[in-house]
Symmetry: C2
Subunit: 773 residues, 2 copies
């Protein structure tokens, strides 16, 4: 399809409102009579609750109610989903576990009230480290619920149907997920002439969206109808959770569309049922906005992991075996994406023998949730660090090794089937021809004067995201002024609206500005699932394409009759339908609209409807190059240059695609070097403010060069794949490999903090990974 607009850079419609502070987020809505809520959270990581005494709190002026699990009125839950059981019953399982919700006339009064709620705890032993929690004899993270039983009963894991949770002599905190296998791992290891094995650990990381978790619930004064304003990534998901938790029908719940200030997977559904239950009982609007401290204490961060990767290869560089043991820290609740995590290790390289065993482990930490390419940064850090070591052991060029083994169309795929057309090779090639790689010897020697004495390295790493699909629908309405309204039910977190507008504008021959993207509430919008999984452009974009094509057909039908011309002789351009070659013979879209609306008009309204259900996802790949400088004496690291190649299938809105890459790399730098939630020995959070929890600042982020690769994806609109997830994936590995290049030693723990670098340096530098048998 020839295109005029696709691939240009279209500014966001909501950009001005957001940068000028005018956008009204969920927390900016303050209806008359609104009450404010504050949580009472557990200071213990594990304890029984003996008694909760709300009477002092209730006696405070302005305190309206104190809710506990006993009087919140939620339906009983199986404990598999934290949002459905938002307050602890008789056992707290993590430090920060909400025990009560205090509702008061002002935020400050609610805070006073929360401080005045008396809770009598009986402390219990806690277990924080996921590896320690696996060991037989480890304290049980939760006593009142059997973790494995919960996993078996819940569908939260994306487990294949019928999969069993193996036990393998682990502590009851741990459950083994179904193994992922290709070939026979023993054979692959037998065939190997070189084996490299390394153990990695990562830290829990918070999604660190700008806008905190926010829910406002406005009950109807007389019925059990609720209107919800929530910082959620999915209106219908919030609706369903609230309906389920409160025993209401979905039609009683109206979720309003509000701008969302970032989510990255952390805002699927968390606090909506809690606040809804309070509002429904009090018959007044109730608002809960997390403080940044509550975010860090009681959010739902990305899980900590411990990963052992063992690679086997022949001396000629043929990869024969990939064996992985992945321990996922589930926190107190099942990690909903556990079932997907192991696949990452099978998604880069052709290898005849593969065995991936994942374990999900309950610990006394808050539950884990999605964070941009869930488990991707952790998995590819481990895999790509080990690949780098393997290449070093074999004396191979790491790019050549990767090119040789990179997955290509037609290769076998786990859990079955073949890989479709993908762009991993093209991304490797794009990076390979960039001077940062092709002239890396020269480039490595270029160091700013003020870093004199620092060591410099260049690292390469690949990563991917398998993509996701979800059915979607969209509408395209012709307006009487000849413009077009695109109606979608998605939550725009990353500028996806601008790509959707481009799709419709391209199809309709309209300037991009003549397409307005509109969202309304959950009652009427075309179906759209969570904004997650890099699927909005891919899945919803397909529906938008279909809706615009449908509208185009309707416009052509009307114009063909009005112009008395054959449809095939007509073209759409600049809001007109013109007879090809006869520029004076045209009807405007306004005229088409006038003939299809208004009293007595002859034609049905132009109202395109698109429905999509892409049968397969569009896998995405990214290959990154990092140039770093490191001072081994202080451990300080500077990322000096960065190149990020990424196959996006087709860059619909080049500006937004580049924005995704800049943002993903910046977050990846946080994963690599800075970010971690640290818990004390008894499980208390030690990084409860942004002074302690270190996010990258602007000076930590180098100039990033995006290399956009376009290997079209069959089902995506104009060939587009997703773009959001991949850019965060290879960053920690690329930086780790660059540090290895600079220092001659392998960092195996994320984040690679100065302290860890100094310790590793002092422990002997130039450490090489242990060789297997």
């Amino acid at each position: 399809m020839s295109s005029v607009l696709i691939g240009t850079a279209l500014p966001r419609q909501d950009g001005e409102a957001k940068v000028s502070g005018r956008a009204r987020y969920a927390g900016d809505h303050l209806p008359a009579g609104v009450l404010h809520a504050r949580l009472v959270t557990s200071p213990y990581a594990h304890a029984f609750i003996r008694r909760i005494n709300p009477s002092v709190a209730l006696a405070l002026p302005g305190v309206v109610a104190v809710f506990t699990a006993a009087n919140l009125g939620l339906r009983s839950s199986d404990g598999s989903v934290r949002s459905l059981e938002p307050l602890a019953g008789t056992e707290v399982c993590w430090c920060g576990h909400p025990v009560a919700l205090v509702v008061a006339e002002t935020e400050a009064l609610a805070e006073d009230g929360a401080a005045a709620v008396e809770v009598d705890y009986e402390p219990l032993p806690a277990v924080l480290d996921p590896e320690a929690a696996c060991r037989p004899g480890a304290p049980r993270a939760c006593l009142q619920r059997d973790f494995r039983e919960t996993l078996r009963q819940s569908h939260a894991l994306f487990l294949p149907p019928g999969a069993s949770l193996e036990e393998e002599g682990l502590s009851p905190n741990a459950a083994a997920l179904p193994a992922l296998r290709m070939g026979t791992i023993e054979e692959g290891l037998r065939e190997a002439e070189v084996i490299v094995e390394e153990h990695y650990r990562t830290s829990p990381v918070h999604q660190s969206y700008l806008e905190p978790q926010t829910v406002l619930v406005v009950p109807d004064a007389h019925t059990r109808q609720l209107t919800i304003y929530s910082s959620t990534q999915g209106l219908l998901n919030a609706r369903r959770a609230v309906a389920l938790a409160l025993g209401l029908s979905e039609r009683q719940i109206h979720v309003e569309p509000v701008p969302v200030g970032g989510g990255f997977g952390g805002k699927e559904v968390l606090l909506e049922p809690l606040v809804a239950a309070a509002a429904l009982q009090l018959r007044r609007p109730v608002r809960l906005v997390y403080t940044r401290q509550e975010e860090l204490l009681a959010g739902n961060p990305a899980p900590q992991t411990a990963i052992t990767v063992k690679l086997g290869a022949r001396r000629d560089g043929t990869l024969t075996a990939i064996q992985v043991r992945l321990i996922l820290d589930s926190g107190a609740y099942p990690y909903p994406l556990a079932g997907l995590s192991g696949f990452h290790f099978s998604n880069l390289y052709r290898c005849p023998h593969l065995a991936i065993q994942s374990y999900l482990v309950q610990t006394n930490k808050p539950g884990s949730a999605a964070y941009r390419a869930p488990t991707g940064p952790q998995a590819y850090f481990a895999l790509e660090s080990t690949v780098d070591e393997l290449c070093r052991r074999l004396g191979l060029d790491p790019l050549a090794f990767r090119l040789r083994h990179a997955l290509r169309e037609g290769d076998a795929r786990l859990p079955g089937g073949r890989w479709p057309r993908i762009g991993l090779v093209e991304c490797l090639e794009a990076v390979g021809s960039h001077p940062l790689w092709s002239e890396r010897e020269r480039v490595r020697s270029e160091l700013p004067a003020e870093l004199s004495g620092w060591r410099v390295g260049i690292g390469l790493a690949a990563g991917g995201w398998p993509g996701a699909t979800e059915p979607a629908a969209a509408l395209c309405r012709l307006e009487s002024d000849g413009s077009c309204t695109l109606i979608v039910g998605s939550v725009d977190m990353s500028g996806s609206d601008s790509s959707l507008a481009l799709i419709a504008a391209e199809i309709l021959g309209l300037p991009a500005r003549a397409v307005t993207v509109v969202h309304e509430g959950s009652d009427t919008m075309p179906y759209s699932g969570l904004t997650a999984g890099s699927k909005t452009t891919y899945s919803l974009g397909s529906a938008v394409l279909a809706a615009a094509q449908d509208a185009r057909e309707q416009i052509l039908t009307i114009a063909s009759e009005l112009l008395e011309a054959a449809r095939e002789d007509l073209e759409l351009r600049d809001g007109r339908v013109t007879v090809r070659g006869v520029p004076d013979k045209y009807v405007t879209f306004q005229q088409v609209a006038a003939h299809s609306t208004n009293f007595g008009a002859r034609y049905a309204p132009v109202f395109g409807r698109g429905r999509s259900a892409n049968a397969t996802s569009g896998p995405m790949f990214a290959v990154h190059l990092a140039k770093v400088a490191v001072d081994p004496e202080t451990g300080e690291v500077r990322v000096l240059d960065y190149v990020a190649a990424q196959d996006v299938g087709r860059a619909l809105n080049r500006g937004e695609v580049e924005g995704q890459i800049y943002g993903g790399v910046a977050q990846g730098i946080g994963w690599a070097l800075q970010e971690r939630l640290v818990y004390g020995e008894e499980g208390q959070l030690l990084t409860g403010t942004l002074m302690d929890y270190a996010l990258p600042h602007s000076q930590d982020v180098p100039s990033i060069t995006p290399l956009i690769v376009e290997v079209p994806c069959e089902l995506g609109p104009f060939g587009a794949r997703g773009a959001g997830e991949p850019p965060v994936v290879p960053v920690a590995a690329a930086i780790g490999n660059a540090l290895r290049d600079a220092l001659g030693l392998r960092l195996t723990e994320l984040p690679m903090t100065p302290e860890r670098i100094v310790r590793a340096w002092q422990e002997g530098g130039n450490r090489t990974p242990s060789a297997g048998s």
Copy 2:
């Protein structure tokens, strides 16, 4: 199509909220910082404005602004549409003409402010009576604008393209509309052996909806976006008017759906541009709610008319000529439905020679607007009274005469074409077999004891409404709980939602309660025009039918695959798709929804979309019988019994159809006996309260027997025609004919008040109409 639900009586979804007072109308929204507006209106029916001095008003505490035409900031207008020129410039043309708008912090302060605005008028001669205004030498109703020129330039009249406005030696206040003709009227009159001619007059009548005209406009604090809550019959119409008046693009204007407390044609667009202009300038919400007095003073009532009907017939009862002269009082602005008014006289009877000449006359009264079957009650009062006289002159049974001449399918129609299948004959037959007619001699003698001495009569009259069409669209969304949401952009004034729900439920095999009808704002709704013209069920219902059928097909496609069964073997019932004859083999709608939503699901979401553009309207007819008692000494009238036959094509929701008939007849009784806006000699309104303007009370309305006739209409959903307009049409004529029967004299002026009855009785009783040449 066999049907389960169609024809049952389904209560309204909004009924409980409305009867319990919980429904939140436009005026119930009071956003923070809202300002209140009050009009300064002209005490003169015609005057120049010399000067407006707002300074005293502006000095009052709490008065925020005084707007006049000079500073309101509306685009200049051609004067053809009152709402686009809401404040008088330098000439007021009617008593009540708004001159300024005072905006203040409270309603009371706005009222004080309005009283303090000093306006210096130079009074001018006014003309109130439409017949007087036609005469050469009559005062000009408006000096600064040429009425005929305005008519020529505006499209407000539904004039056929190219029609000219003849002058015929009338005053410049009057314009002759294009004549409507069949045959040669001179020939028809020549052939006639009996000619009956009568002159009728009617009064201006207010639509008297319960909820007054209300507009609240909330401007965005930073952009030129406006959100409007308005008691309007059409969201997109209000949007377009405001965009036009303020020079905004339509996408800047968001019209929210709110329940509307009756409209009957009087709430198309009136005050929206005025309030929007004030809010846009002040950057604060502004609210204007009419008082009942303002409604009566400055609403847009049904027009006064003066009508001469001349009928010619042979002695054998063959109708040979219908000649009509219709004078429509336009008030100060063009009556938008003038072009349609003359057709009424051609819409009942076969007659070879027909000539209808209408005149639109400007007077110093507020503009005229639609009111339930616009100009129908007036026209059929004149026509059917004259037919009654003709039958009496010829000694014919009035039912037999009507049956003989009633229009049937295939008869020639003005302005061209043929009548489709219609149910006028069936309505006449239905009434003819009702005891109130078939046993009328006996029934006439039955009189309540307390009315002893009163005279009793039974009257028959027919009437119709040609119907209307407008393109429309609708959506039908399957929910995850297996229910269905019907999404429409219409304004439900009369319970139309319940009929639409029945259509969808019938098609989908769902209980009616499982269909929720949802309306959202003008930004996203499927196209729907004004709720007007008895076209919602007919036009939008067709779109709903198509949307439900589309959803049904989508459900069948999915179910067919899930059940591995052929589509033609499947049936939809009670929210399941079952293999016919195998009741255990089914999938539920919930399952279908789960397979077409959610991550990774295989099928596109079930999202039916319907678009309609019915090529022709579905004409409706009603035939009424009234039994009245009258005391000729006092003129008091009691309507004792009432039978209303009506062809609705198919009664989708029988309860709502009967409700329309009850309501229409009640309003018709107001037209017949009570309601009129009375103006003093200088044009001041004398009936400015409901003490003076007499609406029917419950004791004025008798038991009404609806006879529902169902002659299916080809294009309507399940054969349905509209139902709202016809029941008001024949009432005044039926009561007039009953009074003629009782008193032996013809009342020729509406309303037929006791005073007029007594005067007619005293002037000689038993008056017969003048015979023509």
